[in-house]
Amino acid sequence: MIKFTIRRLLITFPQLVLLSVLVFFMGSLMPGDALSGLIDPSIPAEAIEARREALGLNNPWYIQYRDWVVAMFQGDFGQSIFHQRPVMDVIGSRLMNTIWLSVFSVIIIYVIGIPLGLISGRYKDSLLDSVITGYTYLGFATPTFVFGLVVLWIFGYHFGVFPTNGSVGAGLEPGSVDYILSKINHLILPSFSIALIGLVGTVQYLRSGVIEAQQKDYVMLARAKGVKQVSLYLKHIFRNAIIPIAAFFGYELVGLLGGSIFIEWVYAYPGMGALFLESIETRDFSVANVLILFYGFLTIVGALLSDIILSIVDPRIRIK
């Protein structure tokens, strides 16, 4: 188990290097450099050249790359061209917002999706199953942002029960109970919008997993042992059916971290997705670049997380 995890971690390392090199070159391909935004036509060319030299912009690419990586480890992700502030400052609070939104959504997805999937598979072809399956078809057909808009209109404007923009009410003391409640209140609509559409995949996967597991020989053997329905489902069917879902957890979480762009936009929720759209709109490449790096990093970490979870839940994966 530990060996597997360590090996898996080691594989992650070259992946990260490759990712960072790619992002670095993408960054250098973009028009302009760190000085372009600061240049004033009145500054003499020699002065600019001297600045370039001092900033290391004339160094060979591998030195520049090294400096860039070292700077990142020191928390320096560069300067936002648009905001004229360090990128880290720009991303900082947004990052937390997105993490909150994703974690909330994932919890809702599993809390609602897993029971629905299990029930739907367990009572295959019943009325309940038809309703659930019908819902999943609808969910597949509906784009998240459309659903988000509808939810926003109904609960935000029509009934007015939830806030329609932002991540927290104005004028609240950070850390106070009211502040936290307000945060949660702001999260409810966007996270449900994401989750209610996002969970249909989980439901369908689980449903077919349960149906498949029901016909396995080991389930027959369990029945032949006299195992009761309840434990038959709990110990033999659900556990086997849930493995792919558990293994998908890492991807799911990461997918949400990167994939909530449209919902953040619909709810004017100040998260990373909204920032990403913004940075592209304003051609703030230094921010966009860091976000791409960040999303890439998350994907790698998500895969890592999934593999480790899989090795915990499925003994067949644990390599000797």
Binding site: K3, I6, R7, L10, I319
Partner: protein
Amino acid sequence: MSNEFLEIKDLKIHFPIKGGFFNTVKDHVKAVDGVNISIPKGTTYGLVGESGSGKTTTGKAVMGLNDITEGEIFFRGEKLSGKGKKVGVNRDIQMIFQDPYSSLNVRKRVFDIIAEPLKNYESHSKNELIEEVLKLLERVGLPPGSLYKFPHEFSGGQRQRIGVARAIALNPKLIIADEPVSALDVSVQAQVLNFMQEIQQDMDLTMLFIAHDLGVVRHMCQHIGIMYHGRLVEEGTAEEIFNNPQHIYTKRLIAAIPDTNVEKVESNLKLRQQIKEEYDQHFAEYLDDEGRAFPLQAISDTHKVALPVKG
């Protein structure tokens, strides 16, 4: 140069095992580890062994489906193999697979399945192809109406016939039959066995018949080789193997076959018990330090056994 139709010389096929921290090649599975087989023209050679013995790997190597680590394969006196790679695909060597359910592409019609090798090697007009395929269907005893049906519309035995029709489409000279009847019911098995014999006589085929069912092998083959752990432990005519087995492994294998002769059940069980005891006591002596059989020694013109080498 040799007079044998198919000659496998000192064939070794080793698969790497990856493992350890960096997933490097730790060791090799010696799936086939020094096998010599020669098959005279027009005869059937039965290659018998339990799962994992390397019999299928050997067959696939002749078909060019496995990399060869060492050794040579001669077909009609010509060398097929190159060290470290697969032998070239030869249109005169064809294979019949174990499971007629999974070896046929379920999305293709019978016509396309059987015509595929013809298309690969020969140029025919569509009409000529249909003509050819109809002839093949006739030959394997399927009605012409099968032409545009899908594999799932046939029974197991019929599917195996489709597999055979595809295998003989190019008029091959050598057939590798890998467990051709082990997925079939007894009555269907009889059908396919009869029919393979017919085809063999009609087309003067040479056959490498890979199977684990000794009864079937005895029925079909003139020569039999018994494989254990990548090597042959005994080789001889069907008569020699069944009536005068010398290697303890062969003895045990033969004693393990359940016999339908109810009068002999008691004595068979006793014999099996006796041989099992002998096997438990002495099997280790029949193996070298690596747990593999010793080189074969001839005990008659046709009969070879991997007897222990003393010292």
